[in-house]
Each structure stands twice: as C-alpha cells, then as structure tokens.
Symmetry: C2
Subunit: 118 residues, 2 copies
DNA sequence: GAAGTATCCTTACAAATCGTAAGTTATAAG
DNA sequence: CTTATAACTTACGATTTGTAAGGATACTTC
C-alpha cells in the first residue's frame, strides 16, 4: 500500500458549505463593497462624494452600483436632501453595523499578515 | 439655513480606507474564495474533488484558479501524490488558518441576519 | 490488448461584470 | 445667459466568470 490519501471515492458526505455564510461572503465580497462598508463604519452618515473620496480608485459608477446593492440588502439606508445640487447621505442600518466585528477581525488579520508582503 | 448636510466641500481628509484591509477583502472576497476557505477550515487536508463536491455549482476551472491564487498568497499549501490517478491535497497554511476568527464572525452574522431573507 | 475508469486540471468560447470617460438633471449664483 | 455643483447614467472596451469539452496517465476490466 502506497502512502498518501485514499484512492477510494470520498466517504459520502464530506465537508459542506454553509449557505448563509456563502451568501454573505459573496455579498460583502463583491468588488469595492468591503471598502465601502469600512468607510461607513467610521463616520455615521456620509455623502456620496465623501465615500468616493475615501476609497482610492473607486469610480462613481461602481460606488453607485454597490450602494444600490447594499440598500437592496438593507445594510445601508439612503437619505436624500433636495437641491440642487441634490445631496444624499448614506448610513449603515443596524444589520450593517453588526458586521463591525467581522470587519474588525479581518483588519487585524490583514495588518498582521499582509503588512510587508505583496 | 436649510436643514441637512453641509453644502460645502467636505473638510479635507474625512474617513480613509485601510490599505491592508482593502487588499484582504479583495483577496478573500473573490468569487468562490470564501467558500473554499470555509471548506478547508473544516477538514485538515482535502483533495481537489472533495472541495469541488463540497461547494455547490463550483466548477473545476474556478476551483483550479482560486486554489492557484490562494497558493500564490501562501494561504494554502499543495501536495501532490503521483498516480495515476494523480491525487492532490490542499491544506491551509498557518496564515490561512488565522482567518478562522474572521470567517467565524461572518458566519455568525450570516446565520443571524440572512436566515429568512432573500 | 483494447477499452473503460479515475483524478486534476486545460482550453475554448459565450456571458456577465468592471473600468473609464463622458453626459444628464435641476436650480441658484453671478 | 452662463457657470457651478452633486449624484448619478450611459456607452463601450477590457477583464473575469460560467459552461462544456478535452487531455494526460496507468491501473483495471473484458
């Protein structure tokens, strides 16, 4: 018998993927979404242009798309102040704020492990 | 004076985005990567086909790409057992395992807030 | 000894997503 | 009447992803 893993088919029902977790990671993992959430965690209620300025290389189009998604999933609340120029503020809902520990943990990991590496 | 946010340009230097965190969320937020990491957190050392079976709708091509990325970033270690059929095992490195608290927090959030919603 | 099987990838091409740059709206100031 | 502003849209090319098929290899079955 050679060393190494079994050559048999894996026992029926190995590890499985939690569907709630999977939906979550695909939602907040979309491009730019993580950064936008981080910014909103810091200031209470921020204007479109403030968020755009806080995230380098984030275009208007992407910011607009991502905020729409976050609003659709009830992570962010949108308030319009009529203008013109119209001003719009975005703030995290309770649901959104509850992501703080996750973001915090990830930030800790990132600072430790991504510090001097590519 | 009308109610609402300032009409002035935002004070210079509002909130800012942590570059380490940003790199981290864009890395583990790539499509399927979060799910693959979750599976690897469960079993110690898993074969390609076992991971593929654990994540619904994940194709060979994507799994191959993502594992290559994770290996390049030193989150995952790859071991080949010559065949044929050749067998390959993937396991988290220490750096990868240190993501456990983050994933755990996110999973908690997901189960609480994504339970009965779309 | 020809054919089938198992495993881990590749390749090719269509579809979806993203990046970049320019355009839109509406009013008040000058 | 022209300009300025904030928050979006739109258009289009570039990148990423989904889908399906193919490939390499040697052991096992017929």
């Amino acid at each position: 018998m050679l060393p190494g893993p079994s050559t048999q088919a894996p026992a029926q029902s190995g590890p499985a993927c939690c569907p709630y977790y999977h939906r979550a990671v695909e939602l907040i993992g979309r491009r730019w979404t993580g950064a936008i959430l981080e910014i909103l965690m810091q200031g209470g209620s921020l204007r479109f242009s403030v968020i755009a300025a806080a995230v380098p290389d984030l275009s208007d189009r992407m910011l607009s798309d991502r905020l729409k998604e976050l609003e659709a999933h009830a992570l962010v609340e949108r308030t319009v102040f009529p203008g013109p120029p119209v001003r719009v503020q975005y703030a995290l809902t309770h649901k959104g704020q509850e992501l703080a520990p996750t973001l915090s943990e990830l930030k800790r990991w990132a600072r430790h492990w991504l510090d001097a590496s590519a």
